[in-house]
Amino acid sequence: MNPANYLYLSALLFTIGAAGVLIRRNAIVVFMCVELMLNACNLAFVTFSRLHGNLDGQVIAFFTMVVAAAEVVVGLAIIVSIFRSRHSASVDDANLMKL
């Protein structure tokens, strides 16, 4: 199969993720969309690694996974703490600060 197809898939996933971040209101869902974007990056890395015949891309994919896991730890901690104090994880409700 033509590796370019994997790149199209990866671009599609990235776009879905980015659109989700912009459209969805729930902080958890927004965060899941960011994770989708990171996974799209991983797919692109692995495909390019195959295209170029070197291992760099596959190694980077591992780094991305570790970073994404660390981000989940921090992100969920922050989202859970704001959910517990507001009983809502909607990013639209968080509007104490305005111009």
């Binding site: 965060f31 960011v34 974007m37 990056c41 390019f48």
Partner: protein, 556 residues
């Protein structure tokens, strides 16, 4: 026929897999980062094993010693000539040890060192009232939440406040952030760039959520910063993936060789380099991720909210150190990887710089909150620095280095002054509350006025020397229109800086106005260092300009 010879008819011995070479790590040249990260890890252990009452002293001491030792290591490296003649790339091509890296790392370490003093301030917030606890429950508290996980206003939080808990975790978090920031401007491949970005961003997200007062606002700032920061780093990562796809490597020198056409051509490379879309989109996305960290328009939306909501010591640290690290990384990317592409990126960066200068200055005029005002002023300053980045000359590099060093101490000092003006609800950040501050406490108002004048770029302050250097470099680099826009937006910015000064000195103090807390020696030192650097860099900038000039050569 023996079994083995039959076997060899349809099998062949696999070549012995190439052994992974043991990576060669130059520990001595990486020692600043290693010291800071080691001190941060020790700080986590201190948090785990030391009793609560002795943690504060241990953490402050550990952090201060760690940063001082790392700075000494930087000075030693620079003294050995790693900043100029012996500049090279360490850790198997991952980290550059050169002039700009050492200069920016030194600046970040000094900023971190001063930030520790503002983090450790414990005299501003009144100690929790004695309510039947043990006598030591009246121990002084700093500006961080008693217990970050407790719900604001809950019984759990009240109990934690009564018990006199403090979040001493902020010191290891600060150290991890500093460690990431040290790697960020020195990163010499895109993977290291991404990992360093996350290493310094993640602790900052948590630090933002830990304010003692206005906790809801602080948590809101953290959520906004986190979601937008993660969004932007996803863009950065996809950009890295595309650049990797274009060049088949993530190392800076490798990518620039492919762009210049000097790399050995392989079939795969011939295939991917035939497609400029990979390069251009990848470049745009990576630069987008960096511009977000810098706080340039149109990626600035997070800045005012996060600066306002975060605990003020964190805001001061974030506003100065993040900007230094992010501009360092941006400079290295544009000057080392993409000089062959400068006709593609310069027009875009022109637009970004003009928008940033004008939007920052114009929106700041309408602000009524001191922290938001400083946030918009930091956006405008990002625009001024971008003007120097666009110059693409050696003078551009050194002027940006000097500007960053000058700007970061002014910012740190200004936010330290903001922590002093308080009323019953904590810091009084609304501008109307600052009316007549000059009558009530002339010294604090005068110090703040010095910082504002430095922001405005009035002669005899570091702001003037920095702005002059940046605009001169931009003009020499053929960006005269940028300089004109820069001067106009400086004039707009000067209006609101002076307005605050007029408000402080020439209006009647309100009867129920805020009080100016008397800080301990910690914050006083931080503010004094800020004033001293502002004046020294303003009155006698030549030594530091020369230093930045000498440091202004990237290794590739």
């Amino acid at each position: 026929m023996s079994a083995s010879s039959v076997h060899s008819l349809w099998t062949t011995a696999a070549p012995v897999a190439d052994k992974f070479p043991t990576p060669h790590i130059e520990y001595a040249q990486l020692s600043p980062v290693l010291i800071v990260m080691g001190a941060a890890a020790l700080g986590v252990l201190v948090e785990a094993f030391l009793p609560r009452r002795s943690r504060y002293t241990a953490q402050v001491g550990l952090a201060a010693v760690g940063l001082a030792a790392a700075f000494a290591a930087i000075v030693a490296l620079a003294d050995k000539g790693y900043g100029s003649t012996k500049a090279h790339i360490a850790a198997m091509g991952a980290v550059a040890v050169d002039g700009p890296a050492l200069f920016l790392q030194g600046t970040i370490l000094l900023v971190g060192f001063v930030a520790i003093f503002t983090f450790a301030e414990r005299r501003l917030d009144p100690p929790p009232s004695y309510a039947g606890g043990t006598p030591n429950s009246r121990q002084p508290v700093d500006s961080f939440a008693a217990q970050g996980s407790a719900v604001p206003g809950s019984e759990q939080e009240k109990a934690a406040v009564r018990a006199g808990f403090t979040s001493t975790e902020v010191f290891p978090l600060l150290m991890f952030a500093v460690g990431g920031m040290l790697i960020f401007p020195a990163a010499n491949d895109l993977l290291t760039l991404f990992v360093a970005l996350e290493v310094f961003s993640l602790p900052l997200y948590i630090l933002c959520a830990l304010a003692r007062r206005n906790r809801l606002m602080s948590q809101e700032a953290a959520v906004k910063y986190f979601l937008l920061g993660a969004f932007s780093s996803a863009f950065l990562l996809f950009g890295i993936a595309l650049l990797y796809g274009y060049a088949g490597t993530v190392s800076y020198s490798g990518i620039s060789a492919v762009i210049d056409g000097t790399a050995p051509m392989t079939p795969a490379l011939a295939d991917t380099t035939g497609n400029d879309a990979l390069l251009l989109i990848g470049l745009a996305m990576v630069v987008m991720g960096l511009l977000f960290k810098v706080g340039a328009v149109p990626f600035h939306m997070w800045t005012p909210d996060v600066y306002q909501g975060a605990p003020t010591p964190v805001t001061g640290f974030m506003a100065s150190a993040t900007k230094v690290a992010a501009f360092g990384a941006l400079l290295r990317l544009l000057y080392v990887v993409l000089p062959g592409m400068r006709w593609d990126w310069r027009p875009v960066m022109w637009g970004v710089a003009i928008l940033t200068m004008l939007a920052g200055a114009v929106i700041a005029v309408t602000q009524t909150d001191v922290k938001r005002l400083l946030a918009y002023s930091s956006i405008a300053h990002a625009g001024f620095i971008l003007a120097g980045v666009i110059a693409t000359t050696p003078a551009g590099i050194s002027s940006v280095l000097f500007y960053l060093a000058a700007y970061s101490f002014v910012t740190l000092g200004a936010f330290a002054v903001v922590t002093l003006v308080r009323d019953a609800g904590g810091e009084a950040t609304h501008l109307s509350r600052w009316a007549g501050l000059g009558r009530r406490s002339p010294l604090v108002a005068a110090v703040f006025a010095v910082f504002l004048l430095a922001f405005a770029g009035i002669p005899l302050t570091s702001g003037f020397a920095g702005k002059f250097a940046v605009f001169q470099a931009a003009a020499a680099g053929g960006a005269m229109p940028l300089v004109i826009v820069g001067v106009i937006s400086s004039a707009i910015a000067a209006f609101f800086y002076v307005r605050v000064i007029v408000l402080m000195f020439f209006s009647e103090p309100k009867p129920d106005g805020p009080t100016v807390a008397v800080p301990s020696v910690m914050t006083s030192t931080a503010i004094a260092v800020g004033v001293a650097v502002t004046l020294v860099l303003g009155l006698a900038p030549q030594y530091f300009l020369d230093l930045a000039d000498k440091a202004g050569v990237f290794v590739r």
